[in-house]
Point group: D3
Chain length 324, copies 6
């Protein structure tokens, strides 16, 4: 890990000196307007970390060895002043190697413990999945270290719900948990091992939908052109084709669960749920996402003075925060 | 109880004699077409019980003391013949007193035990509702015998889900059960006593929406002109106004839960859910209704030969029944 | 009434001195950017009255005894300068008691005479409502001074139509007037007393939907969580329950008129109009609102040079103003 | 007029003889099924008049001189029997000349007096239209006997509202009447002569949309391919081009009123109303149509026993008929 | 091929004898209604071939060796009579082996020559696809006899367009032809080899969506649960994974073309077209389908007497057939 | 032509002198904020030409003889400086006569040769239109110099597709070209002369929809109140009424093509296409517009660094630009 110091942007104050790491959120070269510097340029920046964003200025472009671009991580040294809000006037700056950075300073992360969640997931598999083919399929996924690393490090969405590292894992556990509840209610119609397997795998395509390297959960080209639903089905097909004798009927059920888990065509599923297992995963997914989304708005407004939250465009409403 | 025998319509066979009780589903006086009986009339009927419907004919109108109308319960005696399907040619018929009938022969009923469900509901109240005002409110409802009788005898819907006696109670318990699950997931944001109270009361208006006397769960005039959402709020307001000192903020939360529990305006809620408790009840209600609806289609097609169910117009799909 | 002078914001000019009352529309504490005042703050304000808004600056926070907040009414003294448009540099300021303010300086008001409109409403009641129960109900409402004060002081909407003091009264008279026209056309199908009563009461819930104290017609918590439709039904139910022998069929008709007067579920009515009286009130309401909305856009653009109004987002169009 | 007798279909009874005029609503040649008549045919008919429809049978095709087709008017003689409802077994039949038929026996007609309505329309023109060009335009239309005959004989719609002879005239007067009401409310924004002219002419295209000869208000090819909105504009353009000096600005306003009077694109208007006059005609048209539609359902169900009408697919509801 | 004679159903006449092959479209066992045969049963059938359908009766169930079911092909002998339309009273019947049947008697087939179309397709590949990987991919598909047989024997849809054997091939050629037209218009933006490859492969999944054995183009379970879009992608992935060094960027483009070719999510595409090649295939597909659909309705009504076609529910209109 | 020099805005650099012609895109009089110039004003402008826009300042309003307004063309002389981007500080300015300006400096123009396109159109008429009435109709249009000038100088749309001079002509040729392709595919159902005539005339109304004088393709009042669809029909009707004996059936077909060419009511067509010719023109129009729109976004982003275009609000997507 790089050992430069880290001051959180949210804690900066006018008049203080600053020396920290920052993510370059926006970078523009601007022209000096004063006649005596005509033709010369400076950097107008927006800088960020997990605690917020701030504007930055580099008056002297020559302090940098190479041009800046969005997504760079910088070490900077300078002073905090005020100009339509706070800004850092930067005196020293250099690019840092992204692989030697503590990502948690720049990306939000689940409040739940990631290894603990992985353990919980494995116990669920052990307790609920007896069918040898389903069990083999899940073990093939979860004994693949590269897969597990990506799965555990992925958010469940870019902005709407579970949008933090570990979010995919946390969301998956919630979906499984709702599914087990449904199994309890309708034991005769639902097959636990199949439902749990579908619930665990429904969103695996997300690990290829978001760019693991990006500090901003950017979508990959594949994510935009194929989407996690079909990427997930492709991953499933590859694993299944490596398991001899995997029953075609189980393959069909699992493919259908993944394809239909958005519930409606206009929400991106090419088919709607036509089995009880697909129907159950769809509703469990919806529920986990929507509750997390509502509670996130509550948390974001927890210290606001108003009884009403800011308008939330995903929920399309302002929510009432007053405790009765 | 009337002691006349009951043969289920679904069991009748061509050529057999029949003596049973039936519900008059349709009743039309028709004109004889043969010239020798010009001017005379006969009854063309559709008769039903819980097992299905059958056509009926009364060639001699004089065997009845008074005209028939839909909703009557008859004792009939006759022979089963075939004419575009089965029909009963009725030789003897007389009206029965609906109050002396075993309704279960004519109305479907929950598979769960009704007193048992009531007991479960009361235990939930005891275990989860501490607030004295909420407790008093629930006890006022559930110590009112007339209310309890109607609540326990009501369906949750006419056709779509939980459409049987006890259905409202069964549905209510499911909604409460999902709500307790949500509370587990978000203990800091959710207040159990308020959520449980809202879940229990969200559909109370349904006892005035369906006609308790009707064998066919007909909607009342109030049901069609006011709807169970606003009827429920009116019932709530009446009970609350009888409790001195009931906190206005709790009243507001409960009213909002009832009003918004359909989640969207186009689904009949005049306001959308703007509190976590209202949001939770909406999703719990949706989930209970939708799963029950899907499973009902599975059960209805359980003995069909095809791997696919009949088209279901409420789910807008045919469902895949094959076990993998 | 406070006797400080009032200069309308719309009349202010650069370079002049100003001494007047203003409403605080926005209030932000900003940080000085000049190094010699580092750590000090000043007020950046938006100030308003019925004639428009203007920016305001208070460089010296100490001239105020307590912090400002939105909704305050201030007495201010200062100079009008220009900085991206006009602004007042405030030298003296103090809060005023909102109850001692002439609200008409801050809130738009109907062009029609309010007592005159109330008189007209009472004559309509006398001329068209014979039924003793309906008459009693209306008299109970309109002999309650507190109700009448709120009813006469309320707008019919926050932004779209009749959005001024007296607007609700003006709108109500228009709805009644259309209803009487319908009665003329369909005398056999429509009952005048019922229709007039429904028309008068259809929007009573609005007096609890908007905050009477707020200078900006803010919605109350009840307004946002219950809505004027259900608030209106609740007010109706309370008045009716105090009238012995009020016929249930009339109660049902009036409740239905109030609930269904938005005409469609997606427009906020939990039920659609199913009686001729409810259907008539819905269309009278729609007509009054829509015409007022269109004419308001015409008036707002009356002195514009263009033949076309600005785009109006509620009408979703620009309107053609040229006289032929 | 043909002097054959007329018995209304709605009054026929089993066993009676019948001799009357009927409209052929459906005509099918059917094959005898009995082996001894193999290869022979008979007519299966549906016959109608203003009071309803009845099935008809002509066993001997030779009693007719030429084949039947839908839309023919027949003189028939026969007997009323019953076979899945009433039917006439026809012994004698011959085609009648449609021009010598009393159309009122076959087409519904406005309850209002047609010459009286025309007179009222002319008085409105005299009282409200001063502008010489608008006056000339209206007089050109209404002094054209052929136009007036068609206008007075046309329905305003095929099935939904004012669907009877004189319906277009009746509807036009209602639209004018609402428009005058709007003028009263907004005298400064509305110009009476223009609005009245637009209201009178808004639906003139309907005289080419429905086939005047058809007993069933069939749409013409033009009606289906061009529609009354654009046909009306074409008729307007032709009349205006014959008036020297007609102001282009008035032409534009009138064209816009006709084109936009359905209010929204999805309702068939290529442009939405962008002038107060077009906006007013749209709402007056909507109101006249919708109230007539609702009241028609009431009238059709006036003698029904139920408190609720049959489901009406145009209103998409069943309506509550009980008088309170 | 079975050598029994074939008389087309559309040519049958009352009174004639019939001896032919028929498809069992519906099969129901019915009960005799006459008391003397109480308990006995007979077959009520609907029979079909490419020329239409007819009802059939088998009074004596014992003439069959095994029960009938939908989809069977029968040899039948009997007489044509009339009973609510024509029906065959069957005296002799036996099941035929579906594999020995001339399918063209039961399934419609393209008017274009299938080998000729295949040849055309191969020439297009030769002329327009230079890239070695794309060429290899196409050759792998089209040198696989089993694939070619299915591809050439498949319809493009069950009911809406190109719904006949060879329809998929005919449709594919039309899509390619439109695509080449687009390439002509936008040579700089479009890459011919990629576009042609995408056009040829866009619907390959249809060979697994429809059941090749079924006489009625029934959908397979995979067709209903996965859909031809994702089945097509799976087939593509399998072929590509067998080609060493296939460029990932070409794979991505082709996958995107297949996934997005329905153009919108609500039409079943999980992603919308985001490359010019995917956009072009979407519009070429739409155009081919829609024109074929419109022309089919014209052909079906070619000999009708009316100037207007029957209502077509897929086009949601009746079309004007008159030649000008 | 005015002989003042033209420097393209897109080429201006900080610090250089400028002397050129510019279009006034926005013009605002602003107040000086410095106390010593209180009450004085200056011009804040946005100036444009075909290469882009730039801000402009005129400190001394007296250098102009008359006030500026949007749409003016100015000769200006001044210096380019930087203030939140580039701006011209103008020292000299005078209005130019718009008729003496080279419009191509201010309006984009088709890349195809306009006379060449006109010639192509005439050859198409000669080659494909035999019917004497259709031929006469087209010749009447295209021998009218005023019409041809407007037709050739018009864009096909303001912003979405073919939004440049000559765009209407280019679009018309594309539509004709697609139509000829359709004729090839369905020679028996399509009549070439009628289809080609409809394709050529489908958008003629656009020459009255856009203001030929405006540098910004502003819509005319007629364009906004009537729309090009009905304006086109009016132009057609006028031409046809001048041709003796023009067959009504051809008139009806052509009117229907023009009216229905937007395909759906919500897209502005008062009727949907009900003939094969109207259906074909609708799809040809859609295709030409949509492909042009997609390719325009590609061209606009041709030199961008990103693999993805900016979000395009008309296509409602960002497009993938990477070449594979």
């Amino acid at each position: 890990m790089t050992e430069t110091k880290k001051q959180l942007i949210g804690n900066l104050k006018v008049g203080s000196e600053v020396e920290t790491q920052v993510l370059v959120v926006e970078a523009n070269l601007a022209n000096y307007s004063s006649p005596n510097r005509a033709g010369e340029q400076f950097w107008r920046l927006v800088l960020g970390d997990i605690s917020g964003t701030i504007r930055g200025i580099i008056w002297d472009v020559d302090i940098l060895e190479e041009p800046l671009k969005e997504g760079d991580i910088l070490y900077v040294k300078g002073d905090v002043s005020e100009y339509h809000g706070l800004q850092i006037v930067i005196r020293e700056a250099r690019k840092l190697d992204p692989d030697r950075i503590n990502r948690r300073l720049f990306q939000p992360v689940s409040k739940r413990d990631i290894p603990g969640m992985l353990k919980e997931l494995k116990e669920i598999i052990t307790n609920h999945v007896d069918d040898p083919f389903l069990l083999k399929l899940l073990r093939d996924f979860f004994s693949d270290r590269d897969f597990v690393k990506k799965f555990a490090g992925s958010p469940a969405a870019k902005t709407i719900h579970h949008n933090y590292i570990g979010g995919l894992l946390e969301h998956t556990l919630e979906v499984v948990s709702f599914c087990l509840k449904f199994k309890e209610m309708y034991p005769d119609q639902i097959r636990a091992d199949l439902l749990v397997t579908g619930a665990i795998l429904h969103d695996v395509g997300k690990i290829e939908e978001y760019d693991a390297e990006s500090f901003n959960f950017e979508m990959t080209d594949k994510g935009k052109l194929i989407g996690h639903i079909c990427l997930g089905k492709e991953m499933l097909n590859e694993r299944i084709s490596a398991i001899e004798g995997f029953p075609p009927s189980l393959k069909l059920e699992l493919e259908h669960i993944i394809l239909s888990h958005h519930g409606q065509r206009e929400w991106g599923s090419p088919e709607i749920p036509k089995t009880i297992h697909a129907f159950a995963v769809f509703y469990a997914d919806l529920l986990s996402a929507r509750l997390n989304q509502f509670v996130s708005v509550m948390q974001k407004n927890a210290f606001a003075e108003s009884d009403w939250s800011e308008w939330d465009r995903y929920l399309d409403r302002s929510i009432y925060l007053k405790k009765s």
